[in-house]
């Protein structure tokens, strides 16, 4: 045993519960950090308890037993009475219900906030797209309008040739076509643009009539999405357009 001798006598008094004042404070402080003295204290308490047995011999009066058993019977630990259990069950259910409602309430509020944020994001995104589309349309409209100046640079002394430029986005079916130097057509005729798919028949891609300067355009004709184009071509068709080319193309595109 490696208990600390300087605390030995005080530890015995502490086991009796009769150590007071600073000595008690010092022993308690030491006990907190000393397992050896804690073990010795437990043994000393056992020694103290032995003294109790030296007192045995007296018997309590018989009525004391009856009194205790009567008190015990009065405080019998029966299972909780039915109404109490029912009340407690009902009360628990009410609490559970209230808690559930509260949780649902907060979940709904949270979901509501999230949905609002999502709607705001979508609205904002949609507005941005609208704005971009508007700008694109204004740009195209401006570039294809009568105020736009067009310059075509060709070899000197060569007469200007009809030219067209198609920009096509297959994924969304978006097409912009600008043409210049187009010969004027009689009123019953029109130019028609064709999308020549990788496989299959030419698909109508809009009609246009050039202005006095020979410029014309087709912007976002109704085309299905996802059609891969091999190239584009322009034919002269009746003014209402055709479902299939009725003449040889006057222009056929090359990638570039």
């Amino acid at each position: 045993m490696s208990m600390h001798e300087q605390f030995a006598d005080d530890l015995a008094l502490y086991a009796f519960g009769t150590l007071e004042g600073d000595d008690r404070v010092a022993v308690e402080a030491h006990l907190r950090d000393c397992p050896a003295c804690q073990r010795e204290l437990e043994r000393l308490r056992g020694d103290v308890a032995l003294l109790a047995f030296s007192a045995s011999g007296a018997r309590p009066p018989a009525r004391s037993r009856e009194r205790l058993l009567a008190d015990v019977a009065r405080e019998a630990r029966r299972p909780p009475a039915r109404p109490a259990r029912k009340r407690s069950w009902w009360s628990a259910l009410q609490w559970a219900t209230a808690a559930t409602v509260l949780v649902l309430f907060f979940l709904l509020i949270r979901q509501n906030v999230m949905l609002r944020q999502q709607v705001n994001r979508l609205e904002s995104s949609s507005a941005n797209q609208q704005q971009q589309l508007l700008q694109a349309r204004q740009l195209i409209s401006a570039l294809s309008g009568p105020e736009a100046d067009h310059f075509l640079l060709v070899a000197s002394k060569s007469p200007p040739q009809p030219q067209g430029r198609a920009v096509y986005l297959a994924r969304s079916g978006t097409l912009v076509f600008l043409a210049s130097n187009m010969p004027l057509l009689p009123p019953e005729k029109t130019y028609q643009l064709w999308l020549i798919p990788v496989s299959g028949a030419p698909i109508p891609a809009g009609v246009f009539r050039p202005n006095a300067e020979g410029s014309g355009s087709v912007v976002e004709p109704p085309l299905a999405q996802g059609i891969q184009a091999k190239t584009f071509a322009v034919t002269v068709e009746p003014k209402e357009g055709s479902q299939a080319p009725t003449s040889q193309p006057i222009m056929v595109g090359t990638r570039g």
Binding site: E42, S54, A55, P60, L69, A73
Partner: protein, 182 residues
């Protein structure tokens, strides 16, 4: 005690377990086993049978209400009951409210020491050891235990030096320990 065959003596742990289940007969059996030591200790201290009986009643009712307060792993039930009885009686003498709750008392007496017939053997060993001590040493132990006097109070009463009283008390406890082979 209809549940217990006459030739089977339930252990304290079995009785406490039954008491936890609300077995009133087990409570009666435990009372029969240990009311003597609880009452004797209280009576020795307060010297008033009515007060000693109140302490006895109160202690057993608390055990009935809180059977889990006694931890069988940390001591013997009679030792535990005796020390609580002593503490309550001294509190009464000193007009104090109970200073120690049931749960706070740890009495490290090996259970096998105080089981059944052996427990009267322990009593005899303690009495013999006390008889073998000097009167002043026995008196110092008894004043500490049965009167709850501090060593200062004992020194004042006996006119002995404080250090002597302290040393004597510890030596007396160690002599008891040795006599009971603890």
């Amino acid at each position: 005690m209809s549940h217990t065959a006459s030739d089977v003596v339930p252990t304290d742990a079995m009785l406490l377990s039954a008491i936890r289940s609300g077995d009133e007969a087990a409570m009666a059996q435990l009372y029969d086993r240990y009311s003597g030591v609880v009452y004797s200790v209280a009576l020795r201290i307060v010297a008033d049978p009515a007060v000693a009986e109140d302490i006895l009643q109160d202690l057993f009712m608390q055990l009935w209400r809180h059977p889990g307060a006694f931890d069988a792993n940390r001591g013997s039930l009679p030792g535990w009951l005796a020390v609580i009885s002593r503490n309550r009686a001294i509190d009464f003498l000193r007009k104090r409210r109970p200073a120690v709750e049931l749960e706070d008392v740890v009495v490290n007496v090996e259970p096998e020491m105080v089981r059944g017939a052996e427990w009267s053997l322990v009593r005899e060993k303690v009495r013999s050891a006390l008889a073998a001590m000097s009167a002043s040493q026995r008196s110092a132990l008894e004043m500490s235990f049965f009167e709850g006097l501090t060593h200062t109070e004992i020194a004042q009463r006996t006119g002995e030096p404080l250090g002597t009283v302290k040393t004597r008390i510890r030596a007396g406890l160690l002599a008891l320990r040795k006599a009971c082979n603890r």
